[in-house]
Symmetry: C2
Subunit: 241 residues, 2 copies
């Protein structure tokens, strides 16, 4: 069937490199180096980089080197405003369109995860993703789903990866998620949208407060380009939005 093309493969691998921190924010993407590394020609690499540019994970000008985006607080704010608008609206649609069965299933998953959260915080995070994703998909709007679960989701992961936001929001998130779901079950679209917006807004504040120092422009760390350094302090710490 759809035999995966090399470009798609390289795209995924570059995403992994970015998520893993091997390509930290601000790192430059050298087409030939990447092509060598992945043992492919420059064509697929080019295409993958262009796609990353389309997702706004890398910034690029015509003849200049492509760079992984930096984590400016302004950009974080703008990203979360878009999430507020889009995911809030998706939540409204969900309140109008979800079937009772879907709501019940989501509620069940939320509760089941909450009891498990005490011992294993990790799976709580995964479930938080799951909650947001399921609400978004319930909007039945392919364009919104693609935007939130595709492009914006990548950026979100990147920001979370590099933010030192602590886990205190994990506990709060459950409560907020539950309130949102209750509003959906009550078919109160206005309330559901409002709650989702507040939820995301608070997550944004939490995240921006824990952003790393603005990439201290001291010229000491001049080695971020092609090497494989800067191991992640906490290799896989995610945070609840």
């Amino acid at each position: 069937m759809h035999k995966a093309t090399l470009g798609d493969d390289v795209f995924g691998r570059l995403l992994d490199l970015i998520y893993s921190g091997e390509l930290p924010p601000g790192a430059e993407l050298n087409e030939v180096a990447l092509a060598e590394r992945f043992a492919v020609s420059r064509g697929p690499v080019r295409e993958a980089v262009r796609r990353l540019q389309g997702v706004q994970l890398v910034s690029r000008a015509p003849f200049l080197r492509a760079r992984v985006i930096t984590l400016e607080p302004t950009a974080v704010r703008e990203l979360f405003e878009v999430r507020e608008a889009l995911e809030g609206y998706a939540c409204r649609l969900a309140a109008e369109l979800m079937t009772d069965d879907e709501i019940a299933a989501l509620m069940e998953g939320l509760e089941a995860n909450n009891v498990a959260a005490g011992s294993q915080a990790r799976i709580s995070v995964a479930a938080a993703f799951d909650f947001h994703e399921r609400v978004v998909r319930a909007s039945r709007n392919r364009r919104i789903i693609d935007a939130l679960c595709g492009d914006l989701y990548h950026l979100l992961r990147l920001y979370r990866r590099w933010s030192g936001a602590a886990g205190e929001r994990k506990a709060i998130a459950y409560t907020e998620h539950r309130q949102i779901l209750l509003a959906i079950r009550a078919r109160d679209a206005d309330l559901a949208e409002s709650l989702m917006r507040s939820h995301i807004s608070r997550a944004a504040e939490n995240l921006v407060d824990h952003l790393p120092p603005p990439a201290a422009p001291a010229a000491d760390d001049r080695s971020a380009a092609s090497g494989r350094r800067r191991r992640a302090a906490r290799p896989d710490l995610h945070e609840c939005h």
Copy 2:
């Protein structure tokens, strides 16, 4: 400075072909044919087509031919829902962020255009675009601005190009625009967002009602691929959203 690259050039030219109707919805984009036509190699054409895919103006699977998107009513609805969410939010931000001077200037432009609309309907449309664009830009959110004035704007133009929506909304639009602007001036963010949403929602209904028949799958018109036919009935009729 930024010497335009061939890929950018081809991208723009393809946009023109799509807008002009020479590449109608559903037409397939042949890379070699386009490369010949533009007197460039397949590389730039490939890149341009990929960018069009990123903007969702063409749909494409790995080894299949790229096609200009079709105008399904569902897709129109989804597009306008995104506009409702995003542009409504932008309107809220505008109500909070616009300076009094900006508001006064926009009001002035709106009024000036209204008096001119009686004689020349064409410029009224351009001004409607201008109104929406200026409100969006007032959101100060680069991500929202890029989305609405970039990707989604292209789609909007395409839909309007192929919809037979009549001009009765032009008159109504002025009133609605004015109400929105009054809400902004009153710094009533909730009202401004709500009004903008209603405005866009009504425009969506108007547009979807006038969509062309769902590309009647009768096999009579098998000639839509590479030639240059199907002249526009009304070469440049735009419609107010």
